[in-house]
Symmetry: D2
């Protein structure tokens, strides 16, 4: 079986999730390629060595440029802070590597476009880490919609709300800085729900947005008496239209008290509807309007082996599904995509399209008018 040699750049929160998924994937799925945890890069030798041992990588380096140019590496997995995605990706592409990048693809549409163009030119494969659409529940939603079980779609409502900055006294961090994060809640969170909207309903083609930096200043983490300016939005909302003409609303917030993982959606069709919240990631609610009126209601479907990509994890229904399991499905797509040319999606083009929507929302919020994508 073909070996796929991974070069992991960055081992923080999300790098760790990738590592767990790499560890799990070969046992869960009959992969078409053999994962080799070849090399990882961190900011210094000590950390890189420590993480290589922890994650089971063969080699490590304190210089990511060395990793992306290493002839052994097949795919560069980018888990560095968002502002570095572009630089690492372009360099990897330059060396002909396939690229698997965390979201958001880049801080700006301009950067994302450059990345798409480079990947296209170099003819490398790309994948963006929009893991929530890999969840069996999301795939089930997609199936239900494609089967026509809820008729023609007439409306989409989606959120990605969290509350990690809900407390006005939480010290400022990189999320709040334009140079490091680009957009605020839009870039960090809404990227996921826009991708989900694209996946379930089709591409968004027009938006009218609003946004606010509710907490204008936050304490300096080193000197809490000092206040530092927040440079991007805490929350945003947008009216959207899909290419099909379907209406929708997208909302996002990083100060939505109580939302720990508030990726939610309601998809309404002429014959039924679907509702979902990521906080109960192993269930989907389905309503069918053609049930007899006296037996109508939302049915709570627990994901199980009759749904996509669940059985490899567990053969019994309703036994639950975890965050890293989504990532494991993503890794399956990565390996099979590279080893056997299976479809790899969401690719950089989708990453760009998502960026275009997010930037259009921000732009619209300033211009106070509808913006076409």
């Amino acid at each position: 079986m073909k070996e796929i040699k991974i070069g992991l750049v960055g081992t923080g929160y999300i790098g760790r999730c990738h590592a767990i998924a790499y560890a799990q994937a070969p046992t869960v799925f009959p992969l078409k390629g053999k994962i080799v945890k070849e090399m990882l890069a961190e900011i210094n030798d000590d950390l890189a060595e420590k993480k290589a041992k922890e994650f089971g990588f063969n080699r490590y380096t304190a210089d990511w440029r060395q990793l992306v140019s290493d002839p052994q590496i097949d795919v560069v997995d980018i888990c560095v802070p968002n502002f570095l995605h572009k630089e690492v990706a372009l360099e990897a592409i330059k060396h002909g590597k396939h690229v698997y990048s965390e979201k958001p693809l880049a801080l700006t549409v301009a950067d994302a476009s450059e990345m798409v163009a480079a990947a296209k030119k170099a003819n490398v494969k790309t994948l963006v880490g929009f893991n929530y659409m890999k969840n069996p529940a999301a795939q089930l939603a997609k199936q239900i919609i494609e089967n026509g079980e809820i008729g023609e779609i007439v409306h989409f409502y989606g959120t990605h709300n969290e509350d990690y900055l809900a407390n006005p006294l939480s010290p400022i961090d990189w999320h709040c800085k334009k140079a490091l994060a680009g957009l605020g809640a839009l870039g960090d969170l809404a990227a996921h729900i826009v991708n989900m909207a694209h996946y379930l309903v089709g591409n968004i083609s027009e938006v009218a947005g609003d946004m606010a930096t509710v907490i204008a200043e936050r304490p300096d983490p080193l000197d809490p008496a000092k206040r530092v300016k927040v440079e991007n939005e805490d929350q945003a909302s947008a009216l959207v239209r899909f290419e099909s003409g379907v209406m929708g609303v997208i909302e996002t917030s990083r100060i939505a008290s109580g939302s720990k993982m508030g990726l939610t959606y309601v998809v309404t069709g002429t014959k039924g509807s679907i509702t979902y919240t990521q906080e109960r990631m192993a269930e989907l609610k389905l309503y069918r309007h053609d049930d007899p009126v006296e037996r109508q209601g939302f049915k709570t479907i627990l994901v199980g082996p009759s749904h996509p990509d669940y059985a490899p994890f567990c053969v019994s229904a309703g036994h639950g599904f975890g965050f890293n399991d989504q990532k494991t499905i993503e890794i399956r797509d990565l390996i099979n995509g590279i080893a056997a040319d299976d479809k790899m999606w969401p690719d950089f083009e989708e990453g760009l399209r998502v960026s275009q929507v997010l930037e259009a929302i921000a732009h619209s919020a300033h211009e106070r008018r509808w913006i076409k994508i």
Copy 2:
């Protein structure tokens, strides 16, 4: 105790609810006036007589003009189809009657303004039937917000979705005709959630709307092979800003498959949040961000005698609350307002303000830009 003589015009769906509430109110509440079900008007003598007997009214008439001019009547209760609200109200006001009107106050802002001006000039009291804000759960939400328990409000999301026209083959009815209904889902449903937003967060001052007539034609009820044009929107969404600057989103639909009574709201503050759905009208969910992190979560509060206006119905918590019970609280407000000059709200001015918001949403949807109220 002062007698308050009621003249009820219209005895259909909502007229019947009023009748149930008139029957129940004096036993539930220690009212400051004595309800006298004096006269009702219907479209013909037979129906009027039948309904007078059924609802326990002393007299009846087939001519509502006779009712509104009857010297005995203190308050005219308007439960006729929406397009007649204005005519009946103006005539009642002309005769110096207090007016209690169902929502929406009128089909247009122009009409609503005329009604407000007339009532002001005649110095009569007015009340509009936005009953959902009378619910103990809504009053509890208001209390929590006013107490500062969820901090400063930063976001409002509200819907009033139903699915009574979800089936594209449902025959056309008066809801779909401009002359009879004015706006579509906005007028019929969103009126409630806009009022609720005003009640909980303050007045809306600016909107950017979108809307769609998803089912452009519907079968003629008498000749199903024939299609008749739908003249107003099936669904609408709007970005809103409150006078305080708070951001929000309002949505409404009459084709929201699965939503039987989808008046819902999420109010987010700097210290917590509230969520509510009318389909579970006896409970409110409350999140407090200052709970210890390992004990944070939404608390499901069942309304009980420690909450506003519940104890008169039942002295035990969690025993439930019904639709007509809301209307009974509204009747209490009506009687005490007229008999003892207690505050009567939402009055015609609020009805007008709601109409202004709704019309602005529709206007904005056509103009594709933000509209100030």
Copy 3:
């Protein structure tokens, strides 16, 4: 239309609910008899007069014996403390009155038997206030079961848990005294769930019970430093077998922290199941095993006009249903039963059967063996 003259004895918590229901019923339902709120009895003239005015009764008395012997009275409605049910009922029966009694029918099986015998001999009609089975949701559950929609019943689990005495420092009250209450949680609460079990699944024929007085002593309300003995059970559980052989479990508690109105049931059949909690009294969850495996799940059905006894309250689905609305249905049964000989159930015989089950549970808990009813 025949007048049904009501004599109400007792105007506390539950008497008040009856009064609300009497007020509401004639507007809600096309009754077969005319309710006349003829007379009420309270412990002294002042209170009786006050309550007669509040509840709209024509006459009042401080002597219930005068009421039950009044020739005008058709039906005696017993809302006095439980320990007085028997005395008032027997006296009413002696005077040939129909009797509508709150639950539990009596403090002991012996007393209940005496009441049944007396009513039978006098050929008067009887009704016991097990109002929860009047709820449209409960009637829907019954329909689903009778239609065979969940196949043959194989198991019943039911509770009636509340937490009104959960706090060990709550002062002692009449509930805790044998002479006033008879059994503890069993008599006060479990009576309802046993009746519901009978209604949904059939009569219980055998029980094995356990029970405990968890808080052995409580503060004297007048002298909190003093402790007074609790004389009956705080909680009880029982294995039960129905006449059909079906297995089940019944539980009850008055110290079940968090249960405000914890009447719940799960009915399992060979083809599906039903779950219900009274705290969400307007919904029923239904699972059908013959749904395709990938679309199986519990469906949340909101009660609406397509379900029994909902439409008279409201013509729209999902608009909610309240505690007193159940009582209003009960009053409809009372009036139609007396005026037109419609079926009146649960009657005293059912009240007795419930008492037999409860007493058997308590007996079994002492004897530590199964007891046949």
Copy 4:
């Protein structure tokens, strides 16, 4: 770091879960020993070879006796059908291996006792796969109870219901045969909830049980027209008493239509209560009676990094938790137990204790009386 060489016997449903957990564990946790997937055993060479490749084991065998006697092996992991647990375990113990066995420990108390005695004598470490108590939500429940947050425990209600045999036409399988499964739902399912009860509340000391084989015969899988006798119970219920005197009820069923993973519990204390269902394995509901009465309610706590054993999987709260993640925690306990003498629980003694409770329930159901453990 010390190597812990695993010998896995059986690679079906649960063997696969173990394999996933072995793969994941070293990346998730900083283990105190190094997992070496040394050898696995299956029923023939082909399957064994296939599974060794799939699960990443170094060696394989078609003879489990070879595995348990292999000098390299440190711990024998028993994932064979239940009726073989004893034989494999005794043989492994004979060779001085530590033993990690799936539940139920054995088919009978006699067998389980023999296993406990052998392990004790050989001084080997033991662990039983009661994975549900490893869930962060269960550990949180334990913490809340131990902290006294819900006061003194007064009641436990627990179920483990599933519906894998709900359809009366599902063909007979090994679960239904005494020689292969021992007890029915009690052994297969209730083992988990009895262990959970022990974990959360303490040991059960007395039971009164009832049980039924509802579907007496099932189709022969090879000849559906033929019916084969079901030899053990489809469902069982028991009143229980804990050593502390606390009352409880345990229920189990394999025909509970709609329950896909119905391990649930309600723990009630004098100051609050906890409710949990495994179908929403990443949340726990907590009620505190000392909240102000107007703010009382069940709080839905989503597990997160502030709760036990969640952070190693994900640093953000509410991101979900999966079935195999529980098993990964169990593997952590196994490795750290063997490598560093950390506490390993539930051990064989707990497995025996659980068997004693289950057998006592079955015994009590036959004898129709309470049985002491």
